[in-house]
């Protein structure tokens, strides 16, 4: 028993039973909430700032594991302005991937659940009638008696087609709260409005289907009324758009026949198929070589201009972020510790962790004798301390740091940092103003 007492991770049988009971209770509640039938009004909200496309507000995503509740995302708030690239940086396990998965409602259920907070997203949804059906737009023609529905040979009204060949339905712009949305309603957003590019193209493409098959599937799902030929033509056009030299050939190939860079291009093509407003790129270049990485980053930048959308770029590589992002969010242990424009973060890093992170990476240009290393390790996610999570590793620690978790300090209009070091400077600044 002595060995058990020494071990911090030891859980007695009664304790583990209690945890399991709590977990099943919580999971049942959240699963039922996701399965419920809700009217759109229930999850409609208002944007705080109309320029933003996504706003995370105090998001909490927990994993109910057998060893205790892991607070993977613990109060994250930031926003993605329309038409910009936001880079989310942090070490592995800091919750950056879980934040993006929450936005897609793809957190590994049942153990992972969005517990509280809200994710506001400006979506254009299908307008629905009382029965919950989509309202189609019909072809009209001018007649001597005025405007009329155009009829086909059988006397039926013809639904208007868009340039791809899909049916046109009446749409409405609506701000939805993804954290409160039921899974069923989420389906019309996931893949169509928000698309995701995953880290490992090998594991995220299905090895037993051809590339064409996997591209077409997305088309069939999200573009209603499209014919087989039109889907194929659209898929091939997308492959051409992501810079694949022989799209017809690749269309027939299987994933294992392609190289890593080509596979990642295919993933991007799948993401672009429905003209999404927001692309989430979860470590899109981590598995790739430097030269291929440069190609893919170039492609992402080009595509952002083409579709006029936004990108949420998740990575641990500071170089990639500096090159791509307009805004940078630095995460540590499930919380945002610093955010601002790329210039703010790279020219004037404020938080000791951000400073340490930048100093610990060797650069090709600069020359350093000894790399700076942040001492210690990330705290155990199951029992997080009450005080600042970085306090035990911090070299600029103050007395105040032993208190509650620090709030955000607005250093400049675009730059926010969660650290006690800058509280005084902020007050000074206010005094001068």
């Amino acid at each position: 028993m002595a060995a058990n007492k020494d071990n911090k991770h030891y859980i007695s049988r009664s304790e583990s039973r209690a945890i399991a009971r709590e977990n099943s209770k919580a999971i049942r509640y959240y699963e039922q909430r996701k399965k419920r039938k809700a009217k759109p009004d229930e999850y409609t909200t208002q944007m705080q700032d109309d320029n933003n496309i996504v706003e995370f507000d105090d998001l909490h995503t927990y994993f109910f594991s057998d060893a205790g509740t892991v607070k993977a995302v613990n109060g994250v708030s930031f926003s993605i302005p329309a038409g910009s690239t936001v880079g989310v940086v942090g070490e592995s396990g800091c919750g950056k991937s879980v934040t993006s998965l929450s936005l897609m409602q793809l957190v590994q259920a049942p153990s992972g659940q969005i517990v509280s907070g809200s994710i506001r997203f400006k979506a254009s949804l299908f307008k629905r009638d009382e029965k919950g059906k989509k309202i189609p737009v019909y072809e009209m023609e001018d007649d001597e008696y005025g405007k009329r529905f155009k009829l086909d040979e059988k006397g039926k009204k013809i639904i208007k087609k868009n340039e791809l060949g899909g049916n046109v339905y009446e749409m409405e712009d609506r701000v939805v709260d993804i954290a409160k949305m039921p899974t069923e309603a989420m389906r019309s957003i996931r893949g169509r409005e928000i698309a995701m590019i995953f880290q490992e193209p090998m594991t995220s493409l299905n090895p037993v289907f051809t590339i064409g098959n996997q591209l077409d599937e997305v088309g069939y799902l999200h573009i209603e009324g499209i014919s087989k030929k039109q889907v194929k033509a659209h898929s091939i056009e997308m492959l051409k758009m992501v810079g694949i030299a022989d799209p017809e050939g690749v269309y027939k190939k299987f994933p294992h026949e392609l190289s890593g860079g080509m596979r990642q291009r295919v993933m991007i093509a799948i993401a672009l198929l429905c003209n999404p407003k927001l692309i989430i790129a979860d470590e899109p270049t981590t598995a790739l070589d430097v030269t291929i990485q440069a190609q893919i980053l170039d492609l992402l930048r080009e595509i952002k201009h083409k579709i006029n959308g936004s990108i949420m770029l998740i990575t641990h590589d500071l170089g990639v972020v500096a090159e791509m992002a307009d805004y940078v969010v630095v995460m540590y242990a499930g919380k945002v510790i610093e955010m601002g424009t790329a210039e703010d973060i790279f020219d004037h890093p404020m938080h000791p962790y951000t400073i340490g992170l930048q100093k610990s990476k060797p650069t090709v240009d600069g020359e350093v004798d000894k790399l700076y290393c942040i001492p210690g390790f990330v705290p155990n996610p199951i029992d997080m301390p009450d005080y600042c999570y970085f306090r035990d590793r911090c070299e600029m620690c103050k007395e105040k740091c032993a208190g509650a978790y620090p709030g955000y300090v607005q250093v400049s209009p675009t730059h926010k940092v969660a650290c006690y070091l800058y509280e005084d400077t902020k007050e000074d600044g206010n005094g001068k103003d």
């Binding site: 430097v290 440069a294 170039d298 500096a322 020219d347 650069t363 240009d365 350093v368 290393c373």
Partner: protein
């Protein structure tokens, strides 16, 4: 023809050098190292097609220095590292380590040399046995090579662990209890427990986070100074290689295309591939706008690499000579090697062009000879006959289709004409 000639010449040289031994400060000398993997076999089981993972590499490494090897994935840098330690069979060329040719030693003899050269693997999650305790993992090889007796085992392992920043109470723990950084420390401790002279680090930090990376790199540098180690540091991360190495070799498709001291390679880059590689590294500074040299396409397959210079398919400065003959690997500046036609003198170009002409002529003659062999002649006859039959059948089908279409059209025309007549 040319390669076999070279090989013979080198073999005769190698016997001489092995006797005369290397200069004192040189730890490792590699001459024309090759490792081919068979990918296809003929009917009798003889390999006929090879994947040339490492295709003729030569370098010398001095004691206490670090050689950094960079390159894209699939360029053979890991294969090279493993070949040096004889983790593969059938390695050609010579690897002179402390005056002994590793490639030609018998297994028994090589076992005595093995503690001197150790390896740190890429993935700390896959390279540690989950069923051994940390102490056992670190000490196992030392016991195997009789570096410690039973009584001193515990103390010896604790000493090594302390050196690598592992706490003594980890001795009884299992690898799954540790994070990636700690596991990599265990891997390093395992390599150092044998008191090696040469350590091959195969991407030791690429699986780790940035802040942990810095800890491991700092530790590797400290250990190098403390124990006088010599590293071969294989990585695709240029910034890390620049930080840790003294010499840098850039590999592309099984060859070293540029080699030199760190400063000369990074500040005065010669080879177009190296230039492209360096320009592709993202810099953590939003104000820097890079003039990227974009490489087109992917790295070609090493099973059938491009003829001539292997890089010419993606090269900006591709010339006519590049696709005809491979460039020579030569010293362009003092201690700075590069294999590229851009740095040829005029005489060299003429000589190489002449050689290319001769090679092409020889190849044409050989191909003709091959075609004239009775078996191949018969084969060609059969294939042409088959082709003729296929085309005949195809033509027949086409004709029948046309004849089907024509009768349909004709009645239509006649009807129309009838209407007109009416």
């Amino acid at each position: 023809m040319e390669k076999t000639d070279n090989g013979e010449v080198l073999e005769t040289q190698s016997t001489q050098t092995a006797e005369t031994a290397l200069p004192d400060d040189v730890l490792l000398q590699v001459n024309d190292l090759k490792k081919y993997f068979p990918v296809a076999k003929n009917f009798f089981g003889k390999p006929i097609k090879f994947l040339k993972a490492v295709d003729g590499i030569s370098f010398t490494l001095k004691k206490g220095k670090t050689l950094g090897i960079v390159g894209e994935s699939g360029c053979g840098k890991s294969t090279m590292g493993r070949s040096l330690l004889r983790l593969y069979d059938g390695v050609q060329g010579e690897i002179l380590f402390d005056g002994q040719d590793v490639a030609k030693l018998k297994n028994r003899e090589f076992d005595k040399l093995r503690p001197n050269m150790q390896m740190i693997f890429q993935d700390p999650y896959a390279s540690l046995s989950p069923r051994l305790t940390v102490g056992e993992i670190i000490g196992e090889s030392a016991r195997q090579h009789h570096l410690v007796d039973k009584a001193g085992f515990h103390d010896y392992v604790l000493k090594v662990m302390d050196m690598c920043g592992l706490q003594p109470h980890y001795f009884e723990r299992y690898p799954h209890e540790f994070s990636g950084g700690q596991r990599q420390r265990i891997c390093i401790a395992r390599a150092l427990a044998l008191q090696p002279k040469l350590v091959v680090c195969d991407e030791p930090v690429s699986a780790l986070d940035v802040s942990i990376q810095a800890q491991v790199i700092n530790m590797l540098i400290e250990l190098r100074e403390k124990l006088g180690l010599t590293y071969i540091f294989i990585s695709h991360d240029l910034s890390v290689v620049k930080h840790i190495s003294d010499d840098v070799g850039v590999m592309y498709l099984g060859n070293i295309v540029e080699y030199g001291s760190k400063d000369s390679v990074f500040s005065h880059t010669l080879h177009p591939y190296t230039k492209a590689l360096f320009s592709a590294v993202p810099v953590p500074n939003p104000h820097v706008k890079m003039n990227r040299i974009m490489l087109k396409g992917d790295i070609p397959s090493p099973v059938n690499p491009p003829k001539g210079c292997k890089f010419h398919t993606r090269c900006e400065h591709c010339m006519e000579i590049c696709s005809r003959i491979a460039p020579e690997y030569r010293e362009v500046e003092d201690g700075h090697f590069c294999s590229c036609h851009l740095y040829n003198s005029e005489e060299d170009t003429l000589r190489l062009l002449a050689q290319a002409d001769e090679n092409e002529r020889n190849e044409a003659i050989a191909a003709e000879k091959e075609a004239n062999k009775p078996w191949n002649k018969a084969k060609a006859k059969v294939t042409t006959a088959c082709k003729n039959v296929v085309t005949k059948i195809k033509n027949k089908f086409k004709k029948s289709e046309q004849t089907e279409q024509q009768p349909q059209e004709q009645p239509g025309q006649t009807e129309d004409s009838n209407v007109e007549e009416k």
